[in-house]
């Protein structure tokens, strides 16, 4: 990878750490410890499910919130603080800046997710006293969550390349929610007719497919996930993120920064 992109990515990660983004880990640890102990006392035989469901849902939601709120500020904050002009005055191209920012935030989220995942696995070990082969699905679910973050980060970056931080956040959250129901959206499109069908189908396929990236329920019941799904989801998320980041670059290249 281009060294300038790497430098920007590393700086973005450092900045996120300096901004105390990783403080969410403390809340997460409390949630996991509290949830595991509490449910163990007040329920029967669902400790494992609760740890997996609660833990992975928290990993996903914490990460999405971070991806959106940091992602929307990646460009606008640099413009507001006027640091962008310093960066672009050096031999750094605009596309390198965008791609570097994207990778920086993805690295931040991967580190964050890795630490939270350790917490989930420790809690699982605490309630089940051992880790089994079926727990591999938990790892797959975490991997899918990371793919989800890659897509959300790319989208937040795309929206922030042309709109205000507030509007970018609203758009990113809206697309996240709609993407969760993407399968229904495609189902509805398939049932319509004529021009409506064409429009609805295009809209449905433009939305990210977050439903397929959510296998938390399968992980909670230690059900295996098809190898093909892992492969397709990986390629899908990378292609979607590629399209969104490339779109952000296209917009940012033409943006008047004066």
């Amino acid at each position: 990878m281009n060294s300038r992109v790497l430098t920007i990515a590393a700086n973005t990660f450092r900045e996120a750490v300096r901004d105390r983004v990783l403080y969410n880990l403390v809340f997460f640890a409390l949630l996991m410890a509290g949830g595991s102990i509490l449910v163990g006392q007040i329920s029967i035989d669902i400790e494992r499910q609760v740890v997996v469901n609660l833990g992975l849902t928290a990993v996903s939601l914490f990460g999405v919130v971070i991806a959106i709120f940091i992602g929307i500020g990646l460009v606008s904050k640099e413009i507001e603080k006027r640091t962008l002009y310093t960066v672009l005055a050096r031999p750094v191209r605009r596309w390198e800046f965008i791609v570097g920012k994207f990778f920086g935030l993805v690295i931040t989220l991967v580190v964050n997710t890795f630490l939270m995942s350790l917490g989930v696995l420790l809690a699982l070990l605490y309630v089940a006293h051992k880790l089994e082969r079926g727990d591999l699905t938990v790892v797959v679910a975490i991997y899918f969550i990371v793919l989800q973050f890659v897509v959300v980060t790319a989208l937040a970056l795309l929206f922030s390349s042309f709109s205000s931080p507030l509007l970018s956040a609203v758009l990113a959250f809206a697309v996240f929610i709609v993407g969760t129901f993407a399968e229904d959206l495609r189902g509805f499109a398939a049932m319509s007719q004529g021009v409506t069908r064409v429009g609805a189908t295009i809209a449905a396929y433009l939305m990210p497919n977050f439903a397929a990236l959510n296998v938390i329920a399968e992980a909670a019941h230690a059900k295996p996930v098809a190898g093909n799904l892992i492969l397709f989801n990986t390629v899908y998320a990378l292609l979607y993120a590629l399209a969104a980041v490339a779109g952000a670059v296209l917009i940012f290249e033409r943006r008047n920064l004066k």
Partner: protein, 307 residues
């Protein structure tokens, strides 16, 4: 100043490649996850829970659930399915969220009541849905009319059907002609003429295009059943006189049974096969009970929901 042309071109191509590639991948992912398709997911089975989660926007949520019910039925109906497990729960949630959503009772009871493959074959649930609708909308005379239909055609309880139609006739805005039909129902329940009167009533009074179309198809099916009955009687008479089956309609005509080839209500000539009368296109002729090839079930016909 650096030229941006090549960068723009490269990233435009990447954007298009990414979008096209992800759309292709979505189809592959969908193929791997059949359980995630629209029809078998209720999400939240409790109307109360849905109401709470709707944050007070129950009207909009009801519209969404009603759309889901229509799409669920339409998709399964299109596939010729005979199992509609989620139909009643979807309709129940819809009407709990918005008890005044009258189309949900009218169409919903039709979807539920008609026998498979035309519907879900759950007339008791259709009655429950309509009674819920009547209790929330006591001035909607058409709900009594639909109730009468379900009792008459699906449950075959002619007295209950007559009572429902009597209610519909007596209500403000109700059709007074229904009073006479209610009387006929009580006396001659089950015959084709009474059925014709009922469907004609719907056809003449219904403003909803799909329900009118449904009535039109029922009327065509009644016409067909009557014509086939007459033709079968003629063939039986021919057989009794000659001791064999007629070979063709021309032979029937030559022996004094009609003057032309008989035509079904869809405009096609009836087929005469080994002394049996058959419609030419049973696959597009819903609700008929006569003129079907041996062993063939009535067709689902064109869909009434998704045109």
């Amino acid at each position: 100043m650096k030229s941006r042309g090549p960068v723009t071109l490269v990233f435009a191509v990447l954007t298009l490649l990414g979008l096209a590639g992800q759309a292709l991948l979505v189809r592959k992912v969908d193929a791997l996850r059949p359980e995630a398709t629209l029809e078998e997911v209720l999400y939240i089975p409790s109307a109360k829970a849905v109401k709470r989660m709707g944050l007070g926007y129950t009207g909009l949520v009801a519209d969404i659930y009603w759309t889901r019910a229509v799409q669920y039925f339409g998709r399964k109906h299109g596939k010729g399915s005979t199992r509609y497990e989620l139909l009643y729960p979807l309709l129940d949630i819809t009407t709990s969220l918005d008890p005044n959503l009258v189309p949900a009772y009218e169409f919903g009871s039709t979807f539920l009541a008609q026998r498979p493959p035309q519907g879900a074959g759950q007339p008791e649930k259709a009655v429950a849905l309509l009674e819920k609708g009547i209790s929330a909308n006591p001035n909607e005379w058409k709900l009594y009319l639909h109730l009468g239909f379900v009792y008459y055609f699906e449950i075959k309880d002619y007295l209950a059907a007559a009572r429902a139609l009597q209610h519909a006739a007596e209500m403000p805005g109700g059709n007074p002609e229904l009073r006479a039909i209610a009387g006929t129902l009580a006396q001659h329940g089950g015959d084709l003429q009474t059925s014709r009167q009922l469907w004609m009533m719907v056809y003449q009074n219904e403003k909803q295009a799909q329900l009118r179309k449904n009535a039109e198809r029922h009327l065509a099916a009644i016409d067909n059943d009557e014509i086939v009955t007459v033709l079968e009687a003629a063939i039986a008479d021919f057989r009794r006189r000659t001791g064999r089956d007629p070979k063709s309609w021309a032979e029937m005509n030559a022996n004094g049974y009609g003057r032309t080839v008989p035509i079904d209500p869809q405009g096609d000539a009836y087929l005469l096969i080994e002394g049996r009368v058959e419609v030419a296109h049973p696959e597009t002729f819903p609700f008929i009970t006569k003129g079907l090839p041996p062993g063939q079930q009535p067709s689902i016909g064109p869909q009434i929901v998704v045109q």
